[in-house]
Amino acid sequence: MYGKGLRPLSIATVAMLAVSLSLIFFYAPLDADQGFIQKIFYLHVPLAIVALIGFVVGGVFAIAHLRTNNRKWDAYSYVAIHMSVIFGVAVLITGAIWAKASWGHWWVWDEPTLVSFLIVFLMYATYYPFRYAIEDPERQARYASVFAITAGAFVPLNFMAVRMAQSLVHPRTFATANGGLPGEMMFVFLCSLVTMALLWVTLVKFELTAKSASGQVKRLRRALDAPAPGASSRIAPEVS
């Protein structure tokens, strides 16, 4: 069931990746201030936006889990957070590369945008040990959902706080005093954003499909009373 529509989604994602990369390097104009380095913007910012929205989506799935007590939503929440953490790793690395090229430092500790994202990332990094410190699956799912909701609510609050903070280092992309991005840059940026969103959805579907298949195999094994192949190493919630 989870694999339904995965093929066209994957094809669309790959096509959009190709289109976005072409637009970034052959269509988007060079930035007057940063020059070629600014191309990282089309990768780094959409990744960050999708990662942060993914954390919030994980919280929304967690609400659905607590409301319905259906473990399916817990698995959705887990996979959404898991994928956003992976995107977060990419955000931190590409951001550090951009910072080194642009500011001459891999990391700037007095920059609110950077530090706030790191705090959000580290908060979600604790999701895994928190979750798997609890052995009972029901309690594990319930507590993980509470964590996902609390942390998911923190993300937009954190974003707004950073927007209100005064900083002269990290650029503001939208709604700046100078009018933000020119049309061509905005078009390429939006294409990149759609591409990253598609990639996130595709990878979430892949992960859910794999978990569902793994769950079905376990149920089949139980139904056949077949011996398990060694100790189970599963740490993620099972989707059946």
Binding site: A32, F36, I97, A210, A223
Partner: protein, 94 residues
Amino acid sequence: MHTLAALLPLGAPALPLDEAGKYVAGAFIVFMVLLVVYVAIMAAKLQRIERELRELASFAESRAKGEEAAPGRESEAPSISDSLASHGSRGGGA
């Protein structure tokens, strides 16, 4: 805009293209490497699932053969189709 953009690398106070190119390439390569590593992990997971399914299929086949050889024990061990049917309504996930 494009004409202006083409002139910018010469005049803008940015890193020269040969130096900036390394960082831009680095950022995009990191992204692609992460993507490839993830796909590789997913491929390994799928291989494991496929191997487990193969084991289960051969286990089920050998059990079915054993039941055919000893028909009197049929009532004790349900057939594979019965086992699947009894759990099939819960299958499919979402």
